[in-house]
């Protein structure tokens, strides 16, 4: 079965880069510009993996991570986070146990596809 990947990223070109590369490699990709629209959609149908930019207009990435941790249908969705900076203090790994990988921009195709395939690979081991 094709893995469902949701991408939440406000920068259109980065979103296009993610979507194009994951689609061409056989994933099913759903794109969102804001955390609000992504959250609304995943509550109807949770994705297998979420690729999330932390800095977003309106609700930011960390707020969304917390919302997901408080929702038992979203609690186990693995999240790959895009961060602009390695010194990004927004993210406390211990607090956000749903984050499986942090990718620091700029991100190459190998970084992206590697992280996604690892995340998808863990899915079967989940309860």
């Amino acid at each position: 079965m094709t893995a469902q990947i949701m991408v939440i990223e406000d920068e259109v070109n980065i979103r296009r880069f993610v979507a194009a590369n994951l689609t061409v490699r056989g994933y099913s990709v759903e794109e969102h510009e804001t955390a609000e629209s992504g959250l609304e959609s995943m509550r109807l149908a949770p994705p297998d993996v979420l690729v999330l930019d932390l800095i977003l207009p309106g609700m930011n990435g960390t707020d969304l991570l917390l919302e997901m941790l408080m929702d038992e249908t979203l609690l186990y969705v693995p999240v790959i986070v895009f961060s602009a900076s390695t010194t990004d203090l927004l993210l406390d790994r211990a607090r956000y146990e749903n984050v499986v990988e942090i990718l620091t921009k700029p991100v190459s195709v190998e970084d992206l596809t590697g992280a996604v395939s690892r995340a998808v690979g863990t899915l079967n081991r989940r309860p």
């Binding site: 980065i14 880069f17 309106g58 700029p106 190459s108």
Partner: protein
Amino acid sequence: MAADQTPNPFFRLEAVLKGRTDLLPDQQNLLDDLLSVVDTVLDRLEGSPEDQQELRDEIASLLLADEMARQGYTDVTPSGLGLLVTDAEGIIRRANRRAGGLLHRRPDLLVGQAVADLAQDENRATLRRLLEQAHDPENLVQDTEIELAVADEDALTVIITAVAMHDLETGDLVGVKWLLDPGGRRDEDDPTFDTEERLRATFEQTAVGMAHLTLASQFERVNQQFCELTGYDKDDIKDLSLQELLHTDDFKADSQFMRDLIEGRLETYTLEVRYRRKDGTLFWARQTASLMHNPQGEPQRRILVVADVTDQKTAEAQLIEALNRSEELYNVSRAIAVSDSIDAVLQAMLDSEYLGDPNRAAVLVFDRPWLDDDDPPECCDVMAEWQRQEGDLPPLLESSYLFEEYAFTRLFQRDSPTVIEDVGSDERLNEQARQLFVDSGAGTITLFPLKANAEWYGVLSLHHADYHSLEEDRLRHLSGIVDQAAVAIASRRLLEAEAQARQAAERANQAKRDFLAVVSHELRTPLSSIKGFASTLLADDVEWDEASQLDFLQTIDKEADKLGGLIRQLLDISRLEAGTLSLEKQPVTPAQILGVAAAQLETLAASHELAIANPPDLPPVEADPERIAQVLANLVSNAVRYSEPGSSIEVAVHANDDYVQFEISDQGPGIPPEAQREIFEPFNRATTMAREQGMGLGLAICRGIIDRHNGRLWIEETGPDGTTMAFSLPLT
């Protein structure tokens, strides 16, 4: 016998002499001799009544002369006056030749007679009364008009003056000096007597002004001194009444006292009154008035003694004024010293009574101290404002408005207050300023410089609704108060500035941390696209079609441009902060600047309705057109970013005497008040906006560029209907 009932003067003399303990030996011997003589005399008094009387008279008149000398009464009688000297009993001891002439008696034959015997009936009673009253030390001098009996002739009317002589130690009456003044009656028996001469003696030779008035206050006679005081001739004044010479208020007071005088409630009164000179000027005079009566005790005329006390009065008034002012200065200073805010300082100042009912006041503080006359501060803030009536006047001073449009800086003076007495017509105000003030209800405006620590840092403006003239000394007094307030305000500001500096330092630290995060994020975003698509093209596990490849390459190209733009911005801001931004200034008209910018503005605002008003005949400014175009582009792109697509954006430009002013208006939701000051700081963005992007350097760079042109950039207007940003450039 009456003489036995009075203290014997010899016993008194003995008592006095024996009581002396401070005499030298020789004087003591002399005294002993004298005492023995007195003893002998006293023994002789035991003799025949005739002997006693003779001795008594002799010694009494000697003693009287002695007492008179002691009291300073020399035997100098004004020419033409009769003189009688009596003892305390009223027995005449001496009479001068003139007295004899008046009474048709030999002077030596008058001696020994009772003074009361010189008159008959009620006049006799009057003399007795004068003698009786002379015992009272209060009645040293009494005078009245009286009829005296004259041998083989009708009665003689004189003004008789009784001068009481009292022993200085005991206060007892020792004698009375009687002056007989026949007044206007010319005595044909005495060719030396002359009324005019007499008048000059008593009237003219005094140092004060004197006047005789009828009971209806008409002038009868005045002396030369009175003429000199009032500026009238003696002839002029006879047609006048006192009412015409006195200040109206003072005449009322004088009339009141005059009634008391006539009705006998007062014998004399002294008033300080204002006299009007012939030339209309006023002077302060001390005026003493008393009445002259006829023998029947009816008032005949009033005598005024008038002394000029203008100098004294003026000095007094100045002293009182000075005292009032220093008291107020003290009270206001105290209130200022304990004020805990700039508003309270302003309020304390406004409590000064010398301000004269202002209708609004404001403390304006420059953005930096005005040190060099040629280098005025760029703007000033209203630190405290007060107005008499709440809310019914339009807001007057918006911090940004003071300089270009209204040209206020020309009015401010470093070392003295500026008084604009009539704002409606004052040449120093330009048309806009005049209109602003008239609309705001001001008639007169006074601007006091605020200085502390030798730095001129602001202005206190004081508005009066009506035309209001402040006198020089009042202005000085107010300047004193304002100076105190200026120091208080400065120290308040220092405390606030210190607190602000601390916060600013904390903010700067935070800003540095934020800077790295923001720059990192902003630079990484285009970099991420470039890296992402470049690696996408390079990946060997996927073969992309040509359209995709082209798309990716174009994206890389665009994102590389964006990255280049961001790096330029960073370079600009760092050069501006280091002061190394290079400008290629040249004389250029606003139309030329807009020409340079137009194409870029059209592109930026493609999603909006852009209108550029470009009047061709505006004067040139000294500017780098590329940089000004950069500023315009930045302001327009902000307008585009913060307003709905399709709404209109307007670019306008106009000029006044000193400046060209560009304005960029949008129909966006306005800049929140809390953000208005911060948006010009680097890395700040109006955070309520949904589509945030960029580093927030745009306005900081714009402001830096305009600063380098000696112009200013500010928010002209912002609200729910839109925002107008404005910048000014000085004319060449």
